[in-house]
């Protein structure tokens, strides 16, 4: 009898213990990024990918790209519930959501939104002020109404106001009080609040229990800076880290997929790998030489080299997935004989040597070397000058490179990439320079017209035409796109399918949780 009572009691205790364990769901998330340390944690100054991704958890914007997507076609309300625009496309009125609290307890109103837009459009306080050059004024009509007036219509104001770059909204009181020190303790309205920063180690965020979309199901995020690839991989394998930034290689993807309980995703947006051909430098001023280079690059082989899990073939002179992408852009076919003939016609029957300033960043340098190998088959000798990454960026902007390999994604509206890389006012070395390394001017008319075209279909047609012209002029030779690779525990449920994120980091919302 006593034995039976003891056995029953023991069994009951065991059941209670097990049920307690089953309910002890993990609520702390550890993320490892490849950045070596935090940069500026001010949303209007953060330019590093890892900083932008983190700040997306702390701040909201007027609108957001639906979590899990990287396409502006999926823009949805965020701090702004709704909006209207006048027929000229110049006056926008936003209805600001009521009852939203900043992390310091103050209420977020149209005044904060107006202040935020002023801040992000001012050179002294924003790295993205150039994006807002068309902004005339932003004013709070009343507590919940924001009026934005533009100097001229632009292709995507909602894109600018989304949770990307300068669109993140700061709280006026906190920002004014902190001044230049706002980045030390960022205050926003997002699902997670800044707690602490330890140099070279981590940033800690805690759940904002009063978040207006609902309290997060994750209590704490530790965002670790782990620059060593090997350490990051081992920490992930060891269970010390729940989500990790991966390497853009098939080997890494396969190796990581083999770890039990892990999910690996190649996310949008893909960064376009492209050779910009400097038409201001001989012999690239000759279109036959440029065309020869285009025919000497085997896009399929470049995808094979990068690995099909992490790489895909380029489709146009702008990245795939961009609004306004022309899927029928006439890219050159791979043809070594044609390349040689073109060179001979241009007066280089024995081949040609062209200088290329190349970054020694491993992810870029291996591509440079592969391109060099491909071009050599057509008699084009790429004279690579390897320099460290900051020097590479400085030198290509000084027009020192003939062939410039560049890997980049931009806000996925055709105008952004076209304007920065193929518009005459963006030519490097000029007062309005951005990243037009090729000195391309082939599609200026179309790019300008598309900017102010109110009809969506006509705008698209102009962008299509621009891409066609640029391709036919051989301003650049796009060949592949590299996707962003992340891995996480398969028990981490984001609350939506994770296909992409403009900030290059999975977008964590209040819905994210561990299922065990």
């Amino acid at each position: 009898m006593i034995r039976r009572v003891v056995a029953s009691a023991a069994f009951a205790v065991m059941l209670v213990g097990l049920s307690g364990q089953a309910e002890a769901q993990k609520r702390n998330l550890v993320i490892a990024t490849s950045q070596s340390d935090a940069g500026k944690l001010d949303p209007h100054l953060a330019s590093a990918g890892a900083d932008k991704g983190l700040l997306n958890y702390v701040f909201n914007a007027l609108v957001r790209i639906k979590p899990g997507e990287a396409n502006p076609e999926f823009i949805e309300p965020d701090l702004a519930e709704s909006w209207t625009v006048n027929p000229a496309g110049i006056e926008w009125t936003f209805k600001i959501r009521s009852g939203v609290q900043c992390h310091d307890g103050t209420e977020f109103t149209a005044t904060d939104a107006a202040y935020s837009l002023q801040r992000s459009s001012t050179k002294a306080t924003s790295a993205f002020s150039g994006d807002f050059s068309a902004l005339d004024k932003a004013e709070a009509v009343d507590k919940n109404t924001l009026k934005v007036t533009l100097k001229n219509p632009i292709p995507s104001l909602l894109g600018l106001l989304s949770n990307y770059h300068g669109g993140l909204m700061v709280c006026k009181k906190a920002a004014e009080e902190a001044g230049d020190g706002f980045g030390k303790k960022p205050i926003g309205t997002g699902p997670f609040m800044f707690v602490e920063y330890q140099p070279q180690q981590f940033v800690k965020l805690t759940a904002n229990k009063k978040y207006w979309r609902g309290a997060p199901k994750i209590d704490e995020i530790t965002y670790r800076y782990v620059p060593s690839d090997a350490t990051r991989d081992l920490a992930f394998r060891n269970g010390e880290v729940d989500m990790v930034f991966g390497r853009q290689t098939d080997q890494w993807v396969q190796r990581t997929k083999d770890i039990p309980g892990v999910k690996v995703v190649a996310m949008e947006p893909a960064e376009l790998n492209v050779l910009h051909l400097n038409m201001a430098m001989k012999p690239l001023d000759d279109i036959r030489v440029r065309e020869a280079i285009a025919h000497a690059i085997d896009r399929k082989a470049m995808v094979q080299f990068g690995g099909p899990e992490a790489t895909r073939e380029a489709v146009s002179v702008i990245p795939n997935g961009n609004l306004g992408l022309n899927p029928k852009t006439p890219l050159a076919d791979y043809n070594i004989e044609k390349a040689k003939k073109l060179l001979a016609d241009a007066g280089y029957p024995n081949g040609v040597t062209i200088k290329s300033v190349a970054s020694t960043l491993p992810v870029l340098f291996r591509i440079s070397e592969t391109v060099q190998g491909q071009l050599s088959k057509a008699g084009i000798k790429l004279d690579i000058e390897p320099v460290d990454h900051p020097t590479y960026h400085a030198n290509i902007r000084k027009d020192l490179s003939g062939v410039t390999l560049y890997q980049a994604a931009r806000f996925p509206v055709a105008d952004t990439y076209l304007s920065q890389f193929y518009y005459s006012k963006s030519i490097v070395g000029t007062p309005t320079a951005v990243t037009n390394f090729s000195h391309c001017t082939a599609a200026d008319k179309e790019i300008e017209a598309a900017r102010s075209e109110p009809n969506v279909e006509r705008q698209k047609a102009l962008w299509f035409a621009a891409q066609e012209k640029i391709a036919k002029e051989f301003c650049s030779v796009p060949f592949s796109e590299s996707l962003v690779i992340w891995a996480w525990r398969d028990s981490l449920d984001f609350g939506y399918p994770m296909k992409g994120s403009l900030n290059l980091m999975p977008h964590l919302t209040e819905k994210a949780q561990f299922t065990k």
């Binding site: 070596s36 340390d37 935090a38 940069g39 500026k40 001010d42 100054l45 330019s47 590093a48 050179k123 002294a124 790295a127 002020s129 150039g130 230049d180 980045g183 030390k184 330890q198 140099p199 070279q200 180690q201 670790r224 800076y225 782990v226 620059p227 060593s228 090997a230 350490t231 081992l234 920490a235 394998r237 060891n238 010390e240 880290v241 320099v387 460290d388 990454h389 900051p390 020097t391 960026h393 400085a394 030198n395 902007r397 980049a408 931009r410 920065q420 963006s426 000029t430 007062p431 309005t432 320079a433 951005v434 990243t435």
Partner: protein
Amino acid sequence: MTAFLIRRAALAIVTGFAVLTLVFVLVRIVPGDPALVILGDYASESALQALRERLGLNLPLWDQYVEFLKGALMGNWGVSMVTGRPVIEEILKVLPWTIELTVVSLILGLLVGVPLGVWAAIRRNQTLDYLIRVVSLLGLSMPAFVSAVILLLMFAIQVRWFPVISAQTGSLSAWFQSIALPAINLGIIMAAYITRVTRSAMLEVLQEDFVRTARAKGVPWNAVVWRHALRNALIPIITITGLFLGIQIGNSVLTEIVFNRPGLGKLIVGALNQRDYTMLQGMMVIYTLIVVFINVLTDIAYGLADPRVKLR
């Protein structure tokens, strides 16, 4: 001793000033635009220009130098161009981690290296001597990042005695867990170096007349080696250890990166990659002061080890 310290302090100031000037010029000669690194590659030329003006990078070099010197003399080392945080604050936050790692690896290096060196010397040209010399050569030749990854694979992944990410605080066991593998990694190199130096120094001292006399008088062999011979071999050991310590602080960057510990090495590599001029200037002066301080400590150690040495 006081005069010695004052003279050394004055020398440190002059050295720091010279290094500061050299670094100021060198970092600005290296190509690369800090404004571009800070704002990102999509920044327009006008935004870059605006930032260069704000950071004072558009001023003539001489004006920038004078501004910096004025600030440095008033104790204002400026803010990091990349993060906007005060340079001195950033350095002081990671300096204790570097000092901790260097001191612990030095202690490990001495505890392992000195006895191994002594044993190798007293068993000269025997199996133990060859074994110790081969092992120390391996220790010297093995790149720090390779040994670091091997240690992680063995002790963090295979047997799980230690975490992969080493920077932990809060309790003694957490501290031990965080320092053990990085200190062993740096300690291996230290021990290898000290082993070879100790062996050479001991071999020389063991040939001295006083050693033969002590043995003839019947002093136990252990006492001859560890009390008399080793003490006389200490001067070259202290010299080389002091020199190597200064180098190790710089070399710790690979260990810091693989074990993900904060430290001066990581800070300086990051500042160099980002062309953070103000951080680089501050870091170089700190490094100079550290090296000078280590040299002073080395000199003081001479005086303690050898009563014949008088510090003036």
